[in-house]
């Protein structure tokens, strides 16, 4: 939950990125003797909104649980987490994610088992040689205590691609709810449990991107299938995904479940959710990507473009605002989701940053100009959008091609002067038009002009246009 503001149980920052090691810490998040955790209510509200978004049955109250294991980056040697037994009550039980398969354009469903709110451990950094060879390990507790949502699905996924699409969709929902910014480094991690018929379940840890979800699972399926088809056995184990090598390697054999000594954290009384439910419910309802997607498609926009809008929230906002102010939906969608977004990508600008996008009036004005035939779409795309993408705040007038009115007299003049070319053109020599267009552009003083618009204007003048 990168957007939770503070850590789960203290006032240190939830977003620790870019800080000097061990500067985002306090007695609570490094677990000093006597320090006590106090829940950051925003984290609970966000988690509750997520639970509601995924149709969980939410309890009347939640109870945090201590989960014990010894590790240097876990300062208390227990993690405050959630568990459904021994008196613990997680924020969500059951529930489901309806996610979009963007290849078949159909909605699929994956059941959820549970959602937990828990604290992140610190980070261990190894010296030269990495985890295996380095003599030193350094621990940075800046991350220690940052709120995490642990979302556990049922085994409902049939392929690596489905898994990736599920993860992408879940991240989209969480982003819309303001829970996380999935593009921040380390904003999410995925553990994938993969089993191939005839073998045991293998857990793959340390998957850090949605692309790697697909890669890691496909690798595991191949690896396990190869073992099985050569007569071997796939044992239950935990493996580590190595993104650089594109392979998994064994982490530990799981002969038996580890004993985490779960019990409710006596420092944290039950937290009743009643007061938070209404707000969380409306937060979830107002920020549902599937509803927004349906709304855009309803306006006659293609599914591809609608998805492109929904997956880039500032684009979607701009689109919805523009349409609200009367802009043509299809044209707006094309301009925003396809061509402007493409320009941003080309210029390496962040499409998720609202300041990369122009004001709504710019979009409504451009769409109107195209719609009224003042400019062709290509002119806007080829001339206006690149400049806007460079500076969305630029005065729109200054980047518009010369207006057609000014052109009329220039065209008249050129046609009068270039009698021969006109004659050639009228007698069927098509190349003569290119010459005439060039002459007009030259006569205007080489200002940014749309050649196609000039061509159309000339044709109109000569009685050939439509």
């Amino acid at each position: 939950m990168t957007e939770a503001g503070s850590k789960l149980f203290c006032n240190c920052k939830a977003n620790y990125r870019g800080m000097e090691p061990n500067t985002n810490v306090c007695p609570v998040c490094i677990g000093l003797p006597g320090a006590l955790p106090v829940v950051n209510r925003k984290s609970v509200e966000l988690a509750l909104a997520a639970s509601l978004a995924f149709s969980c049955s939410t309890p009347e109250y939640i109870v945090f649980t201590r989960k014990h294991y010894f590790y240097p980056d876990l300062p208390k040697n227990y993690q405050i987490s959630m568990y459904e037994r021994a008196g613990g009550v997680p924020i969500c039980r059951g529930g489901r994610v309806r996610y979009l398969d963007i290849h078949a354009w159909e909605w699929k469903e994956c059941r959820l088992r549970r959602i937990n709110i828990e604290e992140d451990p610190g980070k261990t950094v190894y010296g030269e040689g990495g985890i295996l060879r380095s003599a030193e390990a350094y621990v940075d507790y800046n991350r220690s205590g940052v709120p995490l949502l642990e979302i556990i699905t049922e085994p409902d996924l049939g392929s690596a691609r489905e898994a990736r699409q599920l993860v992408e969709y879940v991240l989209l929902v969480l982003e819309y709810l303001g829970v996380t910014n999935p593009r921040l480094e380390g904003a999410f991690r995925v553990d994938a449990n993969v089993s191939v018929e005839g073998g045991e379940r293998v857990e793959v840890k340390n998957i850090g991107s949605t692309l790697d979800v697909e890669r890691a699972i496909n690798y595991e399926i191949m690896r396990q299938s190869a073992i099985l088809s050569s007569g071997g056995k796939v044992e239950r184990e935990t493996r580590h995904w190595d993104a650089e090598r594109g392979s998994t390697r064994p982490l530990r054999q799981k002969e038996q479940e580890e004993d985490y000594l779960y019990f409710p954290d006596p420092d944290l009384p039950p937290i009743f959710l009643r007061e938070m439910v209404d707000r969380a419910r409306s937060l979830a309802a107002l920020n549902d990507p599937s509803a927004l997607f349906a709304q855009v498609v309803e306006l006659g926009v293609s599914k591809e473009m609608a998805w492109s809008l929904v997956t880039t929230r500032p684009a979607l906002e701009l689109f919805l605002q523009s349409v609200k102010r009367g802009a043509d939906p299809q044209l707006s969608a094309r301009l925003i989701a396809v061509d402007y977004k493409g320009e941003l990508r080309e210029k390496n600008r962040d499409p998720y940053d609202p300041s990369s996008w122009p004001a709504t009036e710019y979009v409504t004005e451009l769409v109107r100009l195209v719609k009224e035939g003042v400019y062709t779409y290509d002119a806007v795309k080829g001339i206006v959008l690149p400049k806007l993408a460079e500076n969305p705040m630029v005065d729109l007038k200054s980047v518009l091609p010369q207006r057609a009115e000014n052109l009329d007299s220039i065209i008249d003049e050129v046609l009068k002067r270039e009698e021969r070319a006109v004659k050639d053109y009228l007698s069927g020599k098509a190349q003569a038009m290119n010459y005439l267009v060039g002459a007009v552009i030259k006569a205007t003083g080489k200002k940014a002009l749309d050649p196609r618009a000039i061509r159309e204007a000339i044709e109109k003048r000569l009685g050939r246009g439509s």
Partner: protein, 478 residues
């Protein structure tokens, strides 16, 4: 036997008596007794104490407003975090550890111009009932130096009993403030769970314990609780109540309803029994109404208490792994390193309790032990709450007189048995007061009163009444 109450000292200071003089008086007591009693693990430098006294004198002379505890010397149990002095929790694990922050209660003491004189000895991590299990040394009972002062707040109790502090902060997980009070003729009040912030108390059994005011009289205990009580945003288990304000009017015996719970009255050795009934009968003859009741589920109180306390303790102590804290390992292999740091840092009893706590929480046993204990605990709480709605419970404080040093150490069951009357209030989360009622063969005997949640006032009023009957307010050794 001498008598000195803190509130009297406070009045003298306000009337213009020099604070440094008071500091010197207390330091003289320390000089006389501390060498033998060993109540303190660390003492503030005397010169600094005098300076604090001078500073307060200056402020008083200028007519400035001073705090409610101005010039009083308070000893603080060494499991309560202070920045000025180390906090060891009586363990090698924390030998030399200095907390970077003050516990909320310490902040509140300082805000009221109290002077922290030192940190008192305790059984390691408050696990014990005699203060012999301190990793450093046993503390002796000033009334009989061959005997223990009770525990785990034995250092606090002894510091009061010999006059080495005006007031003291103890902690009470299963009787740790009340048992020492009974053994040293001092007063200990375990507040309602959540009335006093635990922020800065090194935890033993989080769901059971409270920092507890200790003093030589009921009035002094009330004074201290007024300062440390009330909601603290840093403790999620603290109750949303303001600082308590107490009336110092003793209760009337007439109309007082006292319930004698058989399970908490019977089973004490004879001299203890005798003094207990003396007081109860005196109250009755003055008009108090007595009622005998049974709460059969209390026969399970001790195992229930220890199961929960050990489970919580095992978890709390996991953090001591040689990274942040003084006890270190030497191995280059992580698991071995942690093992070394813990083997060296923890004492026998602490290890025993960790093992039992882990056992009570482990998969396959958790339901039978930890979960079952929480269920019995609820039943006990319900019974106690039902009773405290109509009466104050009278109970023994300890089944025995203060044992001799070494007497109880070999048999942990005998040690645990000392808490049989006190754990009930912790399991139920209700307030309980122990105050002296007499001496047997020169050894102090106390009585325990238990009221409903946030009914500290009732305990204080009754305690003041009992003091007026026994005349035992402010007593300390010569």
């Amino acid at each position: 036997m001498k008598s000195r109450e803190a509130w009297q000292e406070l009045e003298k200071i306000r009337e213009g008596r020099d604070v440094v003089g008071h500091v010197e008086e207390v330091l003289a007591r320390v000089e006389k007794w501390e060498g033998e009693v060993k109540a303190y693990i660390s003492l503030e430098i005397p010169e600094l104490l005098r300076q604090r006294g001078e500073e307060l004198e200056r402020r008083l002379r200028k007519g400035e407003k001073v705090g409610k505890l101005a010039g009083l010397l308070v000893s603080v149990k060494d499991n309560i975090c202070t920045t000025a002095l180390p906090t060891t929790a009586g363990s090698r694990m924390l030998d030399g550890y200095v907390s970077p922050y003050n516990a909320t209660v310490v902040e509140r003491l300082l805000a009221e111009d109290a002077i922290v004189i030192g940190k008192t000895n305790l059984d390691e991590f408050a696990m014990g009932s005699t203060t012999e299990l301190s990793a450093f040394w046993p503390t002796r009972n000033p009334w009989d130096l061959t005997r223990v002062p009770g525990g785990s707040s034995g250092g606090s109790a002894s510091s009061l009993a010999y006059g080495g502090a005006d007031l003291s902060l103890g902690s009470d997980t299963g009787g740790s403030a009340r048992l020492p009070a009974a053994y040293t003729a001092t007063v200990g009040l375990k507040p309602t769970y959540g009335l006093v912030s635990r922020y800065g108390l090194i935890p033993y059994g989080n769901s059971l314990e409270q920092i507890s005011p200790m003093a030589r009289s009921v009035r002094d205990v009330a004074l201290l609780l007024e300062v440390i009580g009330g909601w603290d945003a840093r403790d999620a288990t603290s109750l949303r109540v303001g600082s308590p304000v107490f009336s110092l009017e003793p209760a009337e015996a007439r109309g007082q309803k006292i319930c004698l719970v058989k399970e908490m009255v019977e089973g004490a050795e004879e001299p203890v029994e005798k003094l207990f009934w003396n007081v109860v009968e005196k109250l009755s003859s003055e008009g108090a109404e007595l009622e005998e009741v049974r709460i059969p589920v209390l026969s399970k109180a001790l195992p229930t208490y220890y199961t929960i306390a050990f489970a919580e303790a095992a978890s709390n102590l996991a953090r001591y792994a040689g990274i942040f804290y003084p006890s270190k390992g030497s191995s280059g292999i992580w698991e071995e390193y942690v093992g070394e740091a813990r083997a060296k840092g923890f004492g026998r009893e602490v290890k025993r309790r960790i093992l039992m706590g882990v056992y009570a929480l482990s998969e396959g046993f958790r339901d039978e032990f930890y979960v079952a204990a929480t269920r019995v605990r609820r039943a006990i709480r319900d019974e106690v709450l039902k009773l405290t709605r109509r009466c104050i419970i009278a109970a023994q404080a300890s089944p025995i007189l203060p044992p001799r040093i070494g007497e109880r150490l070999d048999d942990p069951l005998k040690l645990y048995y000392m808490d049989m009357y006190t754990v009930v209030a912790n399991l139920a989360g209700v307030p309980a007061l122990v105050q002296p009622i007499g001496f047997s063969h020169g050894l102090p005997v106390g009585i325990q009163w238990i009221a409903g949640p946030l009914e500290e006032q009732k305990l204080i009023s009754l305690g003041l009444l009992v003091e007026s009957l026994t005349g035992l307010a402010g007593v300390m050794v010569d």
